[in-house]
Symmetry: C2
Subunit: 337 residues, 2 copies
C-alpha cells in the first residue's frame, strides 16, 4: 500500500478518513485543539446581521507564483464576505481529492490554507473530504463557505451605486490571471508575475472607518475581471458607469504579457483587488485611507457613475473617444480560480 | 455552438455565467425574487448560537432510485445541522460542472434541490459555479454549506454520551448505499431498493419536544455506516457502546442484496436515518415521539452506553456471544454520496 498518496479509503468515512482528519486537517486547522473540525460546528457570533458566501476553486496548476489553490480558496471567500462590509469570521472547507494525489501536495495546500486563515483572522470551523477514483477529478478541488459579521448601519451592495459616485480600484489589474496562465503555459518572462491573492478584510475595515455609509458598493473583480464586475454593478444598480482609460492601473510586465497573449487586462481575474463606489463627498478621504494600507498603496480613481445609459459601462479612451465595455463573452482563461 | 450542454464559457464569469445564474439557478432557487443568489448573502438570524456545516457530493450515478445528487446534497447538510439540534435555515451551493454536461441533467438536479430545500424549510442563499474541461471532473459535483439556529439550552454533541444512555435508531440501515450500488452495477432485484435520502430536521424537532436536554447525542450514519458512527461517538465521549444484534433493523430486500454482494449493512451509508443517545428516564418518551413522525415509524432501541471499555463498540450477537465492532476499514463503496 502506497502511504504517500491519497487512496479511495481516505474518503470512505472509516478508519483512514478518521486518521486523515486527525493527523492532517486538525493538526493544521485546529492546532490548539479547540472544537476540532466537526461535521457541524457550533458558533456564537453575537447579535446582528451576518454575511454568508461560498466559492469553489479548480485552478490549475494548483501551485503558481504568488500563491496556490489553498490560500486562494481562503482569500476568495474571505473577500466575498468583506465585499458586503462584513468582518470575516468562520470558514468551512470541502475537499474533492483525486485518488493518487501525493499526500505531500495535500499537506502543502493545507499548511497554506492554515496560514491564510491566520492572516485573514478567520477560523476554519467545519470540513469535509471526498475522494474520487483516478481520472474522475483533476488532482484537487476546494470549496470554501464563509460567515462574517456585518457592523450595524452598513448596507454595502451591488445595487447601491448612485449617480455621482466615484469609482475606485485598490491596485493593478490582471496579476492573478496572468500569473496562473504563465505558469500553466510555461512562459518565462524577465519579470516574474505574481498572483495578487490576498485577504481584503483589513483594507475594507480601513475604508469603512474613513467613509462609513458613503461606501455604496464593494466588489472584488475575480473571474470576468474589472470589466464584467462593473457591468454587473451597472445592471444591479440601474446606473451608467464611465471609465477613464488613462487611469486603469496595469503593471508593465503584466501589460506586456497580455499584449503577447492577446488578452485584455480589463477581463482578466484579480484575487486581491477591489472596486469601490463611494459618494463624492467622502471619496478623497477613502482614497487617502486606502493609500495608508499595504493592499491599497496604488489605489486610484478610475471612473464615475452617471444616471444616463443605465446598465452600461463606457470607456473614455486615451485618444478622446468613447466605447462600450461589455461583459466578458466567451471563455478567456479556463480554470483560473 | 451546442446550446444543450455546459460549455467552459458558463464558468468564465462573463455573459454566459450571468445568464446561467439568472435563467436556471435564480429561476428555481429564488422564484419570488428575494435577494437573488448573490456572491454573498446578508442574513438576519436573530440572537443565539448557530450551527455551521459543509458537505461535498460526488455520488455516481447522479440519478438513482429514491433520489439524486441534488436532493442528497440538500438533505445531507440539512441533516448535519439537525444533528446539533439546530433548526436548518440557509444553504450555500457550489457546483463543479464538467464541460459537455447536458443542461437538461443540470436542470433536473437544480429542480430537485429546490424541491428538497422547500421540504426541509431552508433557503438557498448563496451559490457559485465552476466549469472544468471535459475529463477534468466526472459530470457534476456539488458542495453545500449550511447555517442553522440552535435553541437555547441544548448542547447536543458526539462528546455527550453518558453511561446508562439508551441508543436509538430511527429506521432501517443501509438503504441509500444499496440503492446507489444496485443502480451503478445494473443489478435488478425483485423489490427495488430506494435511497432513504430525507431531511431529518422535523424528526429532530419532534424528539427535542419530547426529550429536551435528555437527548445527548444525535448522528446521521452516512459514509462508514452505523458501525463507524458509533465508534466515533464512543471515542469522542470516552464511553463503551453495546449493541444488540437482534434489534438492528434491516429491510429484507436490503439484507438479501447485502448477502449477495458480501456487504455488511452496519457499514453501509444511510442518508435519512439518525442515531440518538438519550438519558434512560426520557428514552421511552423520545421513542414514542419518533414513532409518531413519518421518518421515525420504525425507530427502535438498538443498544446502551456503558462506562467500561471506553472508546469501543461491542455487539451482543443473536447466539449469545459478543464481538468488537470496529470502524470501517478499507473502501467498501466509493462515491456513495
Amino acid at each position: 500500500m502506497d502511504t504517500t498518496r491519497i487512496l479511495l479509503d481516505h474518503g470512505a468515512g472509516g478508519r483512514a478518513s478518521h486518521n486523515l482528519v486527525n493527523d492532517l486537517f486538525l493538526k493544521h486547522f485546529a492546532p490548539d485543539g479547540g472544537q476540532g473540525i466537526e461535521d457541524c460546528a457550533v458558533l456564537d457570533l453575537g447579535p446582528g446581521r451576518i454575511a454568508f458566501s461560498t466559492d469553489t476553486f479548480v485552478v490549475t496548476p494548483i501551485f503558481f507564483p504568488g500563491g496556490d489553490i489553498g490560500d486562494l480558496a481562503v482569500n476568495g471567500t474571505v473577500n466575498d464576505l468583506a465585499m458586503r462590509g462584513a468582518r470575516p469570521r468562520f470558514l468551512s472547507v470541502g475537499f474533492i481529492l483525486e485518488e493518487g494525489l501525493p499526500l505531500e501536495d495535500l499537506e502543502r495546500v493545507v499548511v497554506s490554507m492554515a496560514r491564510a486563515a491566520r492572516n485573514a483572522g478567520v477560523r476554519i470551523a467545519a470540513g469535509d473530504t471526498k475522494v474520487v477514483p483516478h481520472g474522475a477529478a483533476d488532482r484537487l478541488f476546494i470549496n470554501t463557505a464563509g460567515i462574517g459579521s456585518i457592523p450595524d448601519g452598513l448596507d454595502i451592495s451591488a445595487t447601491k451605486a448612485r449617480p455621482g459616485d466615484q469609482v475606485l480600484i485598490s491596485g493593478t489589474m490582471a496579476d492573478h490571471g496572468l500569473a496562473v496562465l504563465c505558469q500553466r503555459e510555461g512562459l518565462t518572462l524577465s519579470n516574474a508575475i505574481l498572483s495578487d491573492t490576498a485577504p481584503l478584510g483589513g483594507l475594507v475595515q480601513t475604508m469603512i472607518e474613513a467613509g462609513g455609509p458613503a461606501i455604496h458598493v464593494l466588489r472584488d473583480p475575480t473571474r470576468g475581471g474589472v470589466g464584467t464586475s462593473l457591468n454587473e454593478i451597472a445592471l444591479a444598480s440601474g446606473v451608467g458607469v464611465v471609465l477613464d482609460e488613462t487611469r486603469l492601473p496595469v503593471d508593465e510586465s503584466v501589460q506586456g504579457a497580455c499584449d503577447l497573449l492577446g488578452l485584455e487586462p480589463l477581463y482578466v481575474a484579480n484575487e486581491g483587488k477591489l472596486l469601490a463606489f463611494v459618494a463624492p463627498d467622502a471619496a478623497q478621504d477613502v482614497l487617502r485611507a486606502m493609500h495608508g494600507h499595504p493592499l491599497g498603496r496604488r489605489a486610484d480613481f478610475i471612473g464615475r457613475v452617471e444616471a444616463s445609459r443605465p446598465g452600461q459601462v463606457w470607456m473614455e479612451t486615451a485618444v478622446g473617444g468613447a466605447r462600450i465595455v461589455d461583459m466578458l463573452t466567451g471563455e478567456q482563461l479556463p480554470r483560473i480560480c
